[in-house]
Each structure stands twice: as structure tokens, then as C-alpha cells.
């Protein structure tokens, strides 16, 4: 992870897929690349029963960049993430309207192949959610489910993925031990590895560090930074300092009269140095939120 070199190409193509290690970490300490739209939300609204949770979000998320969603609790950040991989379908009486595109592909059409979509879009939750099995089985289950790799290559894929999240040296001797015996930070990295076994294009991270101690949190944060360029990362965080450190783009959500809205978005530097919206400036100076 530490030999940072410029990546020749931002987006992995199918031909590059077989060896994960061929994708080099993209070098960027500030705003990323010339922006290529990856995810486009147009007038995206989310309702729970008859209660509007998120109103008319228009947002473009750039390929290979880290986009941070920030804002106080209850303003619809999680709901927004879950609409991207259509986990909202699992919530009874939740409806998503508007348009949501990944590349040119329309996510919200009923005919979307959800299993395929969710293979392209990995998600990590606030609390590490490992299955009650061994470390190895946790990683094997998704690989087997999507059946894209011959069984002989699984071990190598698992090793590569664990190395990518910097967990290989810590767990290589205990792959058969229960995953839930790992520390919180290790569990969160294992969750990330588990999502990465499917080689997704997009990673949705819902407050991945907020349940971790500062040291584990730092390790996970470094890991997320190392994903820049290989994945399109959307991270929800309450930690503005973290957003400032890692994000290329920032989107500020706010609940106005109980309804979540996107009040401002743009490159991280612009948002943090010259916010346009008064709520944003109050929020980032710590006066509100």
C-alpha cells in the first residue's frame, strides 16, 4: 500500500480483473483527476411510508474519487447510500423516486438485476457485520455465491484481498478461527475485504470508523485513502476532520423541517474554504450540527 505511484488508468476494465494487485493506488493528495461522472442522482427522493426522508437530491459522484457525505443524524445519508445498491428494497414501505444512474445504467428500473448490481456496489456498515463463521468462510461465501472464480483460485484471491486491506499478516495463521473474535478495526477491514472479493466498482461506506477506537479508525482511514483511484468511494462520516483529510468531494446533507436535503456539494477544498450555504459554514466551523 505504501509504494504510491501514479496509476496509468483510473478505471479498471474487465481485462484487468484477474489480478487485483495490478491496480496501483492512484496518487492523489488533493482533488482527484479530471472528473468523470460515475453515479448520477437526479431529483432522487426517498420516502418511508408517507414520510419524506430525502428530497430531490441532485448529485454527481466522480469515478475513482472519494466523496464524503456529511451532515447531522437523520438527514438521510444512510438512506441515500442504500438507494444506490437498492437495499432500500428490503425496507417495507420505502419508496425511491427520481433517477439514479451508474454509468449509463438506470438503477431504479424494476427490471434491474439486483444481485448483479450489488456485486458492483459493495457496502460497509457502521457496525462490522461479519457472519458467525470463520474468517475464511466469510470471504469464501461471496466468492462462491457469484461463481466467477474457479475454486482453485479462491485461496490466492483471498490472500490478495486480505493483503489489500493490510490484514494478511495479522490473520494468515488463523483463517479458520471465528471472524467475530477479531478486534473491531480488524473486523471492519475484513468486511471491506469481503466486499472487495467481488471486485466492485463502487464502495459505499456508512460511518465505517465511528464504532472504532482512534488507532483502528486511523488504520481504516488510511486504507480508505489507498482505495482512491481503484474504486469510487462514497463515505458517510460525522468526523469533519476526517472528511477534510480524505475526501475529494464533499456533499453536505441537512434536515430542513425534518426532511433531508442536499444543501451543498463540490470539491472538498471549496466546501471547506469557501462554503456557499450559511448552514454549511455554521456546520464546518462547529457552530451548528
Amino acid at each position: 500500500m505504501d509504494n504510491i505511484q501514479p496509476a496509468p488508468q483510473l478505471i479498471k476494465t474487465k481485462e484487468q480483473l484477474p489480478g487485483i494487485q495490478t491496480w496501483l493506488p492512484y496518487q492523489s493528495t488533493q482533488a482527484c483527476c479530471e472528473p468523470v461522472a460515475h453515479i448520477r442522482a437526479r431529483d432522487l427522493s426517498i420516502m418511508y411510508a408517507n414520510q419524506l426522508a430525502l428530497q430531490k437530491v441532485n448529485l454527481v459522484i466522480n469515478k475513482g474519487c472519494i466523496t464524503a457525505l456529511v451532515g447531522p443524524s437523520g438527514c438521510g445519508k444512510t438512506s441515500f447510500l442504500m438507494s444506490i445498491n437498492r437495499l432500500t428494497d428490503l425496507i417495507p414501505r420505502c419508496t425511491v423516486t427520481g433517477q439514479l444512474q451508474i454509468n449509463e445504467f438506470d438503477v431504479l428500473t424494476p427490471s434491474t438485476d439486483l444481485l448483479h448490481l450489488r456485486r458492483q456496489v459493495g457496502m460497509i456498515f457502521q457496525k462490522p457485520t461479519l457472519f458467525p463463521f470463520s474468517i475464511k468462510k466469510n470471504l469464501e461465501l461471496p466468492i462462491r455465491e457469484h461463481g466467477q472464480h474457479a475454486r482453485e483460485t479462491w485461496a490466492a484471491l483471498i490472500e490478495r484481498t486480505l493483503q489489500q486491506v493490510g490484514l494478511w499478516d495479522e490473520v494468515k495463521d488463523r483463517l479458520d478461527q471465528p471472524a467475530q473474535a477479531l478486534s473491531g478495526g480488524q473486523q471492519q477491514r475484513l468486511c471491506l475485504a469481503r466486499a472487495m472479493t467481488l471486485s466492485p466498482e463502487i464502495l459505499l461506506l456508512d460511518e465505517p470508523c465511528s464504532a472504532l477506537d482512534p488507532i483502528s479508525s486511523g488504520i481504516v482511514e488510511d486504507l480508505i485513502v489507498s482505495l482512491r483511484g481503484q474504486y469510487t468511494v462514497i463515505i458517510v462520516t460525522h468526523n469533519l476532520a476526517q472528511a477534510r483529510r480524505i475526501a475529494d468531494d464533499v456533499a453536505i446533507f441537512w434536515a430542513i423541517d425534518g426532511i433531508g436535503q442536499l444543501i451543498e456539494h463540490g470539491p472538498a477544498r471549496t466546501i471547506f474554504e469557501s462554503p456557499q450555504h450559511e448552514l454549511t459554514s455554521a456546520y464546518i466551523t462547529g457552530a451548528r450540527g
Binding site: 437495499l87 450489488r118 457496502m123 461465501l141 471465528p178 467475530q180 467481488l198
Partner: protein, 285 residues
């Protein structure tokens, strides 16, 4: 004094709790002791394996053990898959407040409380007569299956519902199909509950008399097929105690065997559930 009254109150409570515990243990030990006292002298390996003679006053319970195992076997082989399937349907495929699910759940709760003699009459009418299976081990097993299904389904359903929603969400987020989620993620997590439900059902089936009188019958011979009539342990006890003068010692001995079997089954099941839980590191179970 405040502390004084508190102390007295505390003492009264402690006394009440301990006396109820004592009463329960005493009752249980008394039953066991009574059984052992009256039946111990009859017990031997020979008793377990030989056939009953002289209407059961002499000889053993070999064929009866076999019939009992067959009846229970039929019951479990039928009840398990149906129970599991229904439980999964109720827990995973019906919404909480869905009318159909509520209807099924309500019916099951009523069925679980129906006296077993009613199941016996129903089994006799359906399996023995309408389906022409006669008084047979098969009829008895099927009737018992109907009887234990409500318990099995409800406990299994509850153990599925007890699994936290993050497991389902993270499985869905990985693009797992519903069947993978159920078989590979939820079922292993629900296993201890499923075992507990099976044991409850099994215990109820083993102890059953009324439902079997009308379905698997009284015949104490060694069964040759599932279509033969076969006498279950509980029926043997009932018959010896009520209808056979001088049958009491063997009735007691049979009761010892039945109670021991129930205890063994319970121990084995909790051991398996323990193993399962520790080896899988399940949360909240």
C-alpha cells in the same frame, strides 16, 4: 427503621423463592424416587431387549422400544422438513402484519393448545380410515407429526426472527440470493433454536398416549413394517397400570426407561446446541 424493614422484606422474598425452588425440586425428585423405588428391581438388560409376556406382567419391552423409535422416527422425518419450510416461510416471506401470515400464526397457536386426544381422533379419521393406513406405526407417526408441528414451527420461526437484521442486510449487500441468505447465513444461526424446538416436540411426542391409542394401537408384538400396529412406551405404561392386574412393577420399570430417554435426549440436545454456539461464535444466542 428503614433498613430493618428492608431486611425483613428481603428475607421473606428469599424464603419464598427458595421454597418454590425447593418444592419443584422436591416434586421432581419424589417422582423419580418413586419410579426407581417401584421399578428398579425389574430393570435389566434383558428387560430392555426381550418381548413382553403374560400381557406384559413378565418379560421386557424390546418390541415396544422398537415401535416407539419407529413412531418417533416417522414423526420427526415428516415434521422436520415441513416445520422448517413453514417457519422459513412465516419468518422470511411474510411481512409481520400480513393477514395471511397472521392467520397461519394464530391457527398454529390454537393448534398447539388442542388436547392430544383430539389429534388422536383426527388421526384415526384421516390416516387410519380415510387414507386406509389402519392402526399402524405410520398412522401414529403422522398423527404425532401433526401434533408437534405447531410447536416446532413457532419455535423455529422465533429463532429466525431473533437473528438481527444486520445479517440480512449485509448478506443482501453482498448480492446473496434469498436462498443463499437463508441456507448459508440464517439457518446456521437459527440452528440452536431449531434444535430446542425439535426437543420440545420430541419430548411431547415421546410422552404421548392419547393420540396414539387411536392410531398406532396396542399390539405389543415386534413390528415387521411401518404398516404394522405398534405399541409405544407410554401406551405400554398406561395399559400395564390400568388394564393388567399385577402389571405395576413393569409399568414402573417402563416409566424409568421413558424418563431416562427424555433426560438423555435433553442432555444431548443442549450439548449439541452448546457445541454449535461456541464453534460458530454466534451473537445473542
Amino acid at each position: 427503621m428503614l433498613t430493618q424493614t428492608k431486611n425483613t422484606e428481603e428475607r421473606v422474598w428469599t424464603l419464598m423463592i427458595w421454597s418454590s425452588v425447593g418444592l419443584i425440586s422436591f416434586g421432581f425428585l419424589w417422582i423419580l424416587g418413586d419410579l426407581l423405588w417401584h421399578g428398579w428391581t425389574q430393570l435389566s438388560w434383558n428387560f430392555l431387549f426381550s418381548s413382553p409376556e403374560n400381557s406384559g406382567r413378565e418379560g421386557g419391552i424390546g418390541p415396544i422400544l422398537i415401535s416407539t423409535s419407529l413412531i418417533i422416527g416417522v414423526c420427526m422425518i415428516i415434521a422436520w422438513p415441513i416445520g422448517l419450510g413453514t417457519a422459513i416461510f412465516l419468518a422470511e416471506y411474510t411481512k409481520d402484519h400480513h393477514r395471511f401470515g397472521r392467520l397461519i400464526r394464530g391457527s398454529l397457536d390454537v393448534l398447539a393448545g388442542v388436547p392430544s386426544i383430539v389429534f388422536g381422533l383426527f388421526g384415526n379419521a384421516l390416516f387410519c380410515q380415510a387414507l386406509g393406513l389402519g392402526f399402524s406405526i405410520l398412522s401414529g407417526g403422522l398423527t404425532l407429526a401433526c401434533m408437534v408441528l405447531p410447536i416446532l414451527i413457532r419455535t423455529t420461526e422465533e429463532s429466525f426472527r431473533a437473528i438481527t437484521s444486520d445479517q440480512r442486510l449485509s448478506a443482501a449487500a453482498l448480492g446473496f440470493s434469498r436462498s443463499t441468505t437463508i441456507w448459508c447465513i440464517l439457518l446456521p444461526a437459527a440452528m440452536p433454536g431449531l434444535l430446542a424446538g425439535s426437543i420440545l416436540g420430541l419430548g411431547r411426542a415421546m410422552a404421548e398416549t392419547a393420540a396414539l391409542i387411536f392410531t398406532s394401537g396396542y399390539v405389543g408384538r415386534m413390528p415387521e413394517s411401518l404398516l404394522d400396529s405398534g405399541r409405544a412406551l407410554s401406551i405400554h405404561i398406561y395399559d400395564l397400570a390400568m388394564n393388567v392386574a399385577g402389571g405395576n412393577p413393569n409399568a414402573y420399570a417402563t416409566a424409568i426407561v421413558l424418563v431416562s430417554l427424555l433426560i438423555i435426549i435433553n442432555l444431548v440436545a443442549s450439548w449439541i446446541a452448546d457445541q454449535w454456539t461456541t464453534s460458530n461464535q454466534l451473537p445473542n444466542l
